[in-house]
Symmetry: D2
Subunit: 291 residues, 4 copies
């Protein structure tokens, strides 16, 4: 992204404010709207109305996630509501709308208003980069909750996708004994190549009883009642998978296993880093489009 551009930042959390700072610091013009009630410092003056912010900008950036109800923009720090169609109405064909988790309904609405929109969380590089603060957040939680060190402990990661890969590397770097469960032979080959202990799904039951901490990344109940019943009582289970998660939480609670369902970690544990990754990905999008 070589030339200076103008951006409207509409709603969202601390990440979007940090994104505004970061875009501004590189010489871009930035117009923000939707942060009047923010508890953190906001270095930019809000525009009078959403239309002003949009009108002055080439690119409009919405929140991650874009909306929780498919009708209003997700604006936790705004003193009112911003309707999605109000925003789209204010936009012209030449503008670009970038936000996270744009639902089919919102995408359809965008088409109606002739708004070109891009879901930043669908970008592969964003998903990879987001896995970094997610993995660190998971490690922070484990450190806070466990009375033993991660160093030397037996840590199982279920799933070897983006988060699984990065988390495994960090845990190994701290000194954990890293076990990774996967299904595909090729994944097991990768796991072995990195020096982790591969756990084939069929062997999971043999591995579970000796684990000190389990990180799940698979959005499907693998840790069911049977599996939970063979886990050590002082083992910590951290579920990083989106709904429905990978743990039978009710059963786990019943037998007294400590479980933590940790979602949306990047914005919580490292908002500045998360904002930088959003910035980088927006630059890539703009470069690709040749805007």
């Amino acid at each position: 992204m070589l030339r200076k551009m103008s951006f409207a930042i509409i709603g969202g959390d601390l990440r979007n404010i940090k994104l505004a700072d970061s875009l501004f610091s590189e010489g871009n013009s930035v117009y923000i709207y939707g942060f009047k009630k923010a508890s953190f410092d906001v270095n930019h003056k809000e525009t009078e109305c959403i239309q002003e912010a949009v009108m002055r900008s080439e690119v409009v950036i919405g929140p991650l996630p874009c909306s929780n109800d498919n009708e209003t923009i997700n604006t936790p720090f705004h003193d009112g509501k911003i309707l999605i169609n109000e925003l789209f109405k204010a936009m012209s064909k030449k503008q670009l709308f970038i936000a996270g988790h744009i639902s089919e309904k919102v995408a359809n609405l965008a088409q109606v208003y002739n708004v070109y929109c891009i879901d930043i969380l669908e970008r592969e590089e964003m998903a990879v980069l987001n896995a970094i603060p997610t993995a660190e957040g998971a490690i922070q939680i484990a450190m806070e909750e466990m009375p033993i060190t991660l160093h030397s402990c037996n840590a199982l990661i279920m799933g070897f996708g983006r988060i699984g890969k990065i988390l495994a590397g960090m845990l190994q770097g701290i000194g954990s004994q890293v076990y990774v469960e996967a299904r595909k032979y090729a994944d097991l080959a990768w796991i072995k190549s990195y020096g982790y202990k591969p756990v084939y799904l069929d062997d999971l039951a043999g591995c579970l009883p000796k684990m000190d901490v389990i990180f799940n990344t698979i959005p499907s109940i693998v840790l069911n009642a049977n599996m939970l019943s063979i886990i050590k009582s002082d083992c910590l289970i951290i579920d990083l998978a989106s709904k429905p998660g990978g743990v039978d939480f009710a059963k786990a609670g019943e037998i007294g296993l400590k479980t933590i369902w940790a979602l949306s970690l990047p914005g919580k544990v490292a908002p500045v880093t998360a904002a930088r990754y959003i910035h980088e990905t927006i630059s890539n999008i703009i470069d690709e489009l040749g805007v």
Copy 2:
């Protein structure tokens, strides 16, 4: 692979003999043919003829690569020739033929003879596992050829596929400053996540002049005359890409750059490990087929 089975090992190099040892040591029956002139120790007696080996076996294992001429089996240690159609004629419908790099021509021949054949080098896990000895072989060559240590040196890897990933990890583990060139934003995100220095293709020219060693894994001439002209005269270039390779070797020779085109490393630098990986992959194939 739980039950004991019978295998014919037909031709190939030291890896196939080590594979025979390994299969035998797990209680399987093994019949070999095509190793009379081997310079290494062979612990198994050859069968009288190829038909005997095939007849006594459930699975027939050929060489990697299967054939160099599409007509005869690749048998560097046999005192004659084995025609592929002779082998296929001896096989029944119930048997399985496993070999490496089975060409379209050979595959067609197999169909004519009703032989079910599987190319082991098409298996993703085999390709991943093979990247381990390949990466180690590349490191060995670099250590042998360079008057400086890999520790602290600037090492560039071009391409972030299987070999690139594993080689990058090992070089970092030895203490090199690892640069990785890639094209896709997602790959660059991965490269960054592992702590290597990402080099976008457009920035390659800026990076090349300070490199001490370059490992290419891209089968397309990236290091052309222009690029070669900005590389340090004492930089070593190791090309790991299959034909046509990634280096203009003629030009490199002209300007006095040392280049090594290193192919088929697993069988050369670690035949026993390579055989173990073939064994594992054959077990996976058999498990999947439910033979």
Copy 3:
């Protein structure tokens, strides 16, 4: 430590209770005293009086640190006071007293009562092992306090003793850019050999301005007013050095730098691991003495 022995555990914190569990689980007899007000679970029944615990044991284990006032045993969970001379009076010549940070005054008292005592924190292996939970605790604090990831951040460690060495390895394992400041040429050579960026004391001023987090391990004010003045305003400073620490805290507060003086981390962040290391070291002591 092959044969089963008997131990009195007198006072201390959760670590001593976990130590009691751990000694007991290996078949030893354990008598505890000084935990009546503990908020955590205690699986062992206290003896009637301190004399009973001592009389029944071959080895008497005190707290870490042994005493805060040189007169009473450090017993945060006891409903009264235990005088050190009361304890020593109850002990015989054949018994061994093990505790942490035994001051000269307490050591003199031990001599008066003919008690053979060993300071476990003077044991080199204990000091090394304790550096593991200390380093992890420091990382946990950094993760909690920083709005960026440790991955990719610039982290400076001042001092390359036990904590510095282990912390550097863990930070590198998570993906930080690790800088280590040291004075001796040999230490700088070690730092380089591990792939960290060596910072010679004279070059500290050049390095400080780009740091995101600084971990000090040197018990002498290196980060004085001058040095603090060139540190980024959002840099976090974690001081792990015992008194007087390495930071001019007053000055840091004045200019708005966030500083955390984190002491005694092992017992706080990983009491179970800390107890295991105490157990291992006690076993080594007993083996060496041939008790």
Copy 4:
């Protein structure tokens, strides 16, 4: 070393020529003598006689090792002999003589001639830095000699001094299962902290039979007939210890174990890096002396 200085380089191997290049490239004056028969390129013209080289220089640098017979300088590429006393006679009180492994006899001679001499191999930072090419050389040999990859293999390092520490880190970085044998409890604690498998000397016999490669760094016969008898027949033994080494080589040969006694690796496998480390250490010496 800030100001430009003048150096005489007298005898030695490729390292000393690379050192001359390196000193010259930083703007120093360099006079060489003793390389007339060198098979490698020498970019500097020799002086007419040794006296000329010495007279023109502030610092005189000899070979590593300085001498093999205590009478002549070690000059493998000179067309004659250089007597040590001839060199010392030519030197003045104000000059400095730096070389490697200066024997007591040579040191006494220096005193007679009033020559201030420093043994560079006695410098701790030089010893640490030299361990880097030594470890890499050991890995290169292992890769060349073993038919399996270092990745995934069981590698035992005996001794946890400089070479042991750096070699362990590199092997772990390549993916070996690293076992380290040591005697002191503190060393075993360090070994554990780095994630290697600690092997207490008493447990060596239990560990040896499963090793694929053994690197010895202890200059005392630990691998005696008894120990050798329980090692796998295809295990490779690389001895890096100076005389008498750590292996009963005769016995090993008798029972058919492959052993390699690898000494003086830095000059052999990475002369340019070795020269750079000599250069750095000479700079440190000069800085410390405030010459």
